[in-house]
């Protein structure tokens, strides 16, 4: 009887984990698409426009938009791809990648806070693309924080 209960709860846990990591992979995929677009814009020298405002140009054309000559957007694309990879593997029951997933999302969250600070207090301009990406990272962080405890305990596997 106890064995059956345990098996049932494992199945339920497994289903929740699949939903959780699939959702995270989807969010990362959206972020990957957006960051890839911004990378292309940056490399092709085009001016990104946010509606009627010059703020996008101000942010994406600033010195903060590149690190050592590499567009920050391309680093964002790489980070989203890594999150997508870890989430996909985790959804397929590769237990070891779960903690890497958590750490990558937390690192992205820290970088996002820095970028928001730069936009608010150094550039005094907000780029809508960057805000959208920040929203995605916040969503991923929210998922990590609110992840069911069963999934968290599994991340130690």
């Amino acid at each position: 009887m106890k064995k059956n209960q345990k098996a049932g709860s494992t199945r339920q846990r497994s289903r929740w984990e699949i939903i959780f990591y699939s959702g995270a992979a989807l969010i990362a995929l959206v972020g990957l698409g957006e960051a890839t677009y911004l990378t292309v814009i940056s490399l092709s020298g085009e001016t990104a426009v946010c509606g009627n405002s010059a703020d996008c140009f101000k942010v994406l054309g600033s010195s903060y938009a590149k690190v050592g000559g590499i567009p920050v957007a391309s680093l964002g694309a790489l980070a989203y791809f890594i999150v997508f990879t870890f989430a996909t593997f985790a959804a397929f029951d590769y237990g070891r990648v779960r903690k890497f997933f958590t750490w990558t999302v937390l690192a992205m969250f820290a970088v996002t806070l820095w970028l928001l600070f730069v936009q608010a207090f150094r550039l005094h301009a907000f780029c809508q693309y960057c805000l959208f990406s920040a929203a995605l990272v916040f969503l991923l962080t929210g998922l990590v924080v609110a992840r069911p405890s069963t999934a968290q305990s599994n991340s130690n596997l």
């Binding site: 995929l29 990957l32 698409g33 890839t36 677009y37 990378t39 292309v40 814009i41 490399l43 092709s44 020298g45 085009e46 001016t47 426009v49 509606g51 009627n52 405002s53 010059a54 140009f57 101000k58 054309g61 694309a77 791809f81 997508f84 990879t85 996909t88 593997f89 959804a91 397929f92 590769y94």
Partner: protein, 220 residues
Amino acid sequence: MKRYAPFIIVILVAAVTVGSGAFLYRAKVAANPPLKIPKATGEKPGESAHVLGPPNAAVTLEEFGDFQCPPCGKLSEPINQLQKQYNLRVIYRQFPLPMHAHAKEAACAAEAAGRQGRFWPMHDLLYREQPAWSNSRDARTIFNAYAGMLQLDLDRFKKDMDSSEVQEQVELDQKRGALIGVRTTPTIFLNNQSVPPEQLKPENFATAVEAAVKSAKPSS
């Protein structure tokens, strides 16, 4: 098979991302050819008219343009190509129309860049990026960023943009245009002959230039 599924998904996503990124990049570069910024354009800082090409060219093309006028923007690249193809002498004069909110500011930005010998790179940049700045509430910030992109002395650029000399230069071009009957933009003269409006469409303009070159050759 389930064990390999994540590998397949990740590889597929990587391939699609790189492929679509490369495709988008090629499309963007084809639509906006990178600006060629010559070190010296033969332009002397402070010179009144902006001239490109040899003084003894068979055909002189004089344009009265407004940087915020979309048809002028569409003609900008064809004129650059025709200038190279037929070795034309191209003269650009400012004619910012009052209905365009940032046209005069853009004209001043081009003049201010001209004071540092970079009128033509700024001219090309303003036309190429016209959709980006013309709807902006803060075009001035964008012009300053362009000045940075063209490696201009930014402080001098800002000062020149506000200077009375630059404002007067733009007004002088406008007065000159008004005197010879310019009412709208683009107004283009080929060897002092006004080009009819229907030939100012990018697809027809090359024909008008070719005709001017042919009619100029026998006499030269």
